[in-house]
Amino acid sequence: MEKKWEEMSSDEKQEALFQRWISPEGVKFASPEAEKLYKERTTRFRDAIQLKKLPDRVPVFLIPSFAPAYYSGLTPHDVMYDPDKIKPAWKKFYTDFQPDAHGGCYVPTPIKFLEIVDFKLYKWPGHGVSPETTYQCIEGEYMKADEYDAFIHDPLYFFYYTWPSRVFGALEPLATVPHLSGLTEMYGVAGSFVPYGLPPVQAAYKTLLEAGNEALKWWGVVSSFDKEMPELGFPAYQAFATKAPFDVIGDTLRGTKGIMLDMYRQPDKLLQAMEALTPMFIQLGVGAAKQAGNPLIFVPLHKGADGFLSDEQFKTFYWPTLKKVIMGLVDEGVVPFVWAEGGYNSRLEVIRDLPKGKTIWLFDLTDMAKAKEALDGIACVGGNMPMDLLTVGTPQDARDHAKRLIDTCAKGGGYILANGAFFDEVRWENLKAIVDTVKEYGVYR
């Protein structure tokens, strides 16, 4: 009789999620060839991660930002304004270049949605930045220095009401919605609902409904893409994503400057706040993986890179809750696909402290030989086709670099060749050269 989920070990859970992914239910493959490709790719990927046996060859991923739009002669504005343009462009990109997996097509957020909510956190094509370029985050202190106590006390209230009231102009009235703890008796019930009778709050809730409708339209595009790509033989390299608690606070709550000063001015509160976030961000990943039937959860890392923090600061502030999130995912059979953006040369010793065959570490500006040496036998290592080479290099440069990477990192398995940073517009022939090189040169004999 099959074991209940709660009774399984983390190994068994990982195996179960991998099985669901390798042999998914209800997928109508477009052809026997597509089914074969799908099974080969997912198996190859699993073998590269688990470190139990060699895969047939090195898996190759292309992880684009708006590149598929540019590749089809579209601008970021085109695909953000008209979500119907997204799927054909993203499909063409993956089917033309034939990497081993796809990353979904969620990158172009719909502009109509952003306008309905009056999003203040980013500039986007046609709204603060040129229609031809990607969106960019506006650094700021969206959580104030004196709000740690409120945040630690009730992070859910902060995410439901406080933060949205600051980053969505149309949802500003949400800041006036009180805790509903007063409604547990007859005396408090009607009083607790008074805010919902006030025009500004009602307007905010109407915005939520309107935004929800627009989001659902966009979701139709994204989820149909996710359904159709496996049918064409492409597994997804992520079910969804989660984050390191330090980045949650440092990216868009306190901002870079805010969190760095907090390390000096209120270290204890910062640590407590990150602890408060940890269970939430584990659950985010676990829930998504189980729902999607895909064990891979992306974990992009931002503020712990070389130069951002000292060794001591990394070990005290950045790593502990990141490790808790990683282990929380691992315990539930999920595979954290960690993307160490920037350089991690000074972090390699610290991140070795992880169980074998449970994580992927994709590197950007880190020395790949050192990364392989540090994580060999512990984690699957990924990387690095650098941005400058993709953008200004030649196909021969790309081929040579891909071969060097395979020579350096592929031995013994546990390696995925991929780009180290999201790319927009690059020399397309370089992408082709990379994928072709890996398929010829990256075979394990």
């Binding site: 930045v129 370029t133 400057k257 000063l261 951002f308 000292s310 600061q313 940073a421 927009d424 690059v426």
Partner: protein, 210 residues
């Protein structure tokens, strides 16, 4: 007192540093003495950053302390004679890119190392750079960019400077997250600096300072 202040700032003890500055002002210290201590402390901070014991948080906190101390002694500052600057630098994040933390650090380090810095801000068109060079007459121009789209913007900025007949009047350095020497070649700039201290070294070498 001065020595204590230098140490407090350099060792990142913010509260103590501000307390000392207030005591020094109340005790009648010359604003020059306070500024000198601040400069010495910033030099130590820069050195520690160069050596790899200080990182971005320490540069940010040093900047915060500098701002707060400047606020406290502002009324007295008008009386302080102008210190001769090593040279002039125009800094900016190129067109299309709004990232600025790295650029702000470079501007800050150039300033504490004796340069007169005109920081134009973010999303600066090639034309704005040209105008700034014409008005401010710097020896050095620093182009910052975090996104890959900055490569072309940097190239266009260098070309615009050339077109305006100003290319041989300035030395141009480029820097940023995904910038490298390969990118530098592509843009036509003179040098690539991988961090703030590299930017300072380049600028110093170009103006002939040590």
């Amino acid at each position: 007192m001065s020595k204590k202040l230098v140490k407090a700032i350099a060792d990142m003890r913010e509260e103590e540093a501000l307390k000392l500055v207030k005591e020094m002002v109340e005790g009648g210290s010359e604003p020059m003495a306070i500024l000198d201590a601040v400069r010495q402390a910033m030099a130590i901070v820069g050195q520690r950053y160069d050596e790899g014991t200080y990182f971005l948080p320490e540069l940010l906190l040093a900047g915060e302390m500098l701002n707060q101390i400047t606020e406290v002694i502002k009324p007295e500052l008008a009386k302080v004679p102008e210190v001769k600057r090593l040279g002039k630098v125009v800094m900016g994040t190129v067109e299309g890119d709004i990232h600025d933390i790295g650029k702000n650090i470079v501007s800050f380090m150039l300033d504490v190392n004796g340069f007169d810095v005109l920081d134009l801000g973010v999303d600066i068109s090639p034309q704005k750079f040209v105008e700034a060079i014409q008005d401010f007459e710097p020896q050095v121009v620093g182009l910052s960019g975090f996104l890959a789209l900055a490569y072309d913007a940097m190239k266009e900025t260098v070309e615009a400077i050339k077109k305006a007949g100003l290319r041989d009047k300035v030395k141009i350095m480029v820097g940023g997250g995904q910038v490298s020497d390969e990118v530098r070649k592509y843009t036509g700039a003179d040098a690539y600096g991988k961090d703030a201290m590299a930017g300072v070294s380049l600028a110093k070498a170009w103006v002939g300072a040590k």
